[in-house]
Symmetry: C2
Subunit: 373 residues, 2 copies
């Protein structure tokens, strides 16, 4: 089987890396559209730093700060209209996965007339606006992937645009923007990154390179677990900047992994939990990951052994117990909901991407067990 590695985004990492590398923005064009959410980029200082960097190289900009959590299709068309009307040359997305995923779609739609029906086709002309990304959470990995995940009300799920055109041109990673994230958001996003790393190793497209990155990501997550548990117990923030950097790097590596491997049954199932039950994306993956790892363990114990070794565990159940501790009290799920979500999950491409492909019965069992405490 032919395998591949491709991730052409230039990643710049370190404190104040945006303002210290503003000349990289100059190379992207003469006018920028900042794509972000309503609040966090203003609070954590990232929007200020981006504006300072743009001003220092004399680039005018507009701000589109209407991106909501789990961005909708209409949101990205609105952003693209703004980009076109104002003749911007490039996009700067700031935020968690939502503004970055929206930013990618906007960069595409700003230069191509794509009808909503064809948005997820994967067939586009070979043009897109250059993009600079500034992640302010440590989980999505969107800053180094070719995916834009949008809420698709017609399909009642989240659907991804996947195209090499969507790799950002440059990404700036500065952990200081993640310092003010609350404990729950920190844990949920870290679990999202963990899920990317683990699912990458469970993907039919896993390679030695993606596995190398995934194992490191898992180890870095585990390094931060004691402080996550302590933070949950004390209810207060205990992560120092070095740990924030570790989580941000883990998220970066996990993004580099799924750029190669895609995601698996876990994401396939998790999307329904987010779409219908409004469960945070990282949390949704975390709720399901242990149960899926147990399924894989029964069929391919060598595969799970490699993943568990990176955690110093020997059984998938130990992993599940740890994640359950991090997730706390679980939501309720009804049989009717499970039936509906199984149908939707079984139709996704992510299932086919899994080394161990769950049957509909497997999906039902996993949903049920994942919510049993």
């Amino acid at each position: 089987m032919t395998n591949k590695y491709y991730m052409p985004t230039r990643v710049i990492m370190g404190k104040d890396c945006i303002t210290e590398n503003s000349e990289l923005l100059r190379a992207l064009g003469k006018k920028a559209l900042i794509v972000t959410g309503a609040q966090s980029a203003k609070r954590n200082g990232s929007e200020r730093d981006v504006k300072t960097a743009l001003e220092s190289v004399g680039i005018p900009y507009l701000v589109f700060d209407k991106v909501m959590s789990n961005p909708t299709i209409s949101c990205v068309y609105e952003g693209a209209s703004l980009a076109k009307e104002n003749g911007v040359d490039f996009i700067i997305a700031i935020g968690g996965g939502s503004p970055m995923d929206a930013g990618k779609a906007i960069a595409l739609l700003a230069v191509q007339a794509i009808e909503e029906e064809s948005l997820f086709s994967g067939h586009y002309e070979n043009k897109v606006l250059p993009m600079a990304f500034v992640p302010t959470t440590a989980g999505t990995g969107s800053e180094v992937t070719q995916y834009s995940i949008l809420t698709n009300d017609k399909a009642q799920t989240k659907t991804s645009i996947a195209s090499d055109l969507l790799f950002p041109t440059v990404t700036f990673l500065d952990a200081k923007y993640t310092e003010h994230l609350g404990v729950i958001t920190t844990i949920n996003t870290a679990i999202d990154a963990l899920s990317h790393a683990v699912e990458g190793m469970l993907s039919v497209r896993a390679s030695m390179v993606s596995n190398a990155l995934a194992v490191s990501c898992i180890q870095m997550f585990m390094n931060c677990v004691p402080d996550m548990l302590q933070a949950l117990q004390s209810g207060s923030e205990v992560f120092d900047l070095q740990q924030r950097e570790q989580l941000l790097q883990a998220s970066l590596m996990a993004g580099m992994v799924i750029a190669q491997t895609g995601t698996t049954a876990v994401h396939a199932m998790g999307y329904s939990l987010t779409y219908f039950k409004n469960i945070d994306h990282g949390r949704a993956n975390g709720l399901l990951l242990g149960e899926y790892l147990k399924l894989v363990e029964r069929v391919q114990p060598d595969l799970t052994a490699r993943i568990l070794a990176a955690m110093n565990f020997s059984r998938a159940e130990q992993f599940q117990k740890l994640v359950n501790k991090l997730l706390g009290a679980k939501e309720k799920i009804s049989s009717a909901e499970i039936e509906q979500y199984c149908k939707l999950a079984s139709q996704t491409k992510n299932i086919g991407n899994s080394v161990v492909k769950p049957t509909e019965e497997d999906l039902r069992t996993m949903f049920t067990q994942s919510f049993a405490n």
Copy 2:
């Protein structure tokens, strides 16, 4: 400190990946120049596969098969003239480090008039011919780096052209081309890759991403050591295709590492051994690596501990003993040679790139000890 990750080459891996992905060549242009050495690409089947792939998509080609080991500056100017005279659109380099490094310089010189005096300046116009690379040894990593290392008679050493322009567009990794490499070449090239990984972790530019790749590379090298030792003892080939793939992937990852970190004092010293004493490049690094690791161990034991842990060693001396076993009887070196090489090494940029910067006295001791049996 600002850190970076950038490696935009598309890597395609697997058996028959060239002939199965010939459409990727079509995207590079209408006429190709194959750059290779006189013999090995013909013997191992790689040149045949490249020609088959080109013919299947109707791309005419010329062959420049005059690249020698440690290619000279005049060789790359000759190749570039041929490329210009024949109006080729892209370069396909096949072979070990020498044809690939030559291929990069030819791709640059074919579209830019650069005088020999300015060849290593790092300042070029923003244009280069697209490149497709086919490594047929597992060591150099040139297929995923921005470096072209040429023999520089004026400076009496090997000198590198370093530019992001030199990242190949696409690289095809098929381990079958490495199956017929002899035991000594297999070991020397594997040690070259190992040296890249270890030096990457000893570089001031090491990052979490480069360390993740380096650790995996070191582990993969160690997996293959028992069979290397057995092959040396029996004098016959004992590597199966799976091990060849592991060595090729280790070399790829080590290349991705030095694309971020550059190399250190070891390469700085090794270049003289190759230039003046004609010691194979990988072997030269191997001769010096243990002694440098011992120097670092004295100053920064935490740093070497991380490297040694990936080998299941606790002391740099254990590592040195293992490499010495792989290298066998050593060459002789005179005090006059050592004096000369110390001077040359201390002038290189690689020394400044090392976390632990050896003094000239350190260099003298390392050269002496490395050749003491």
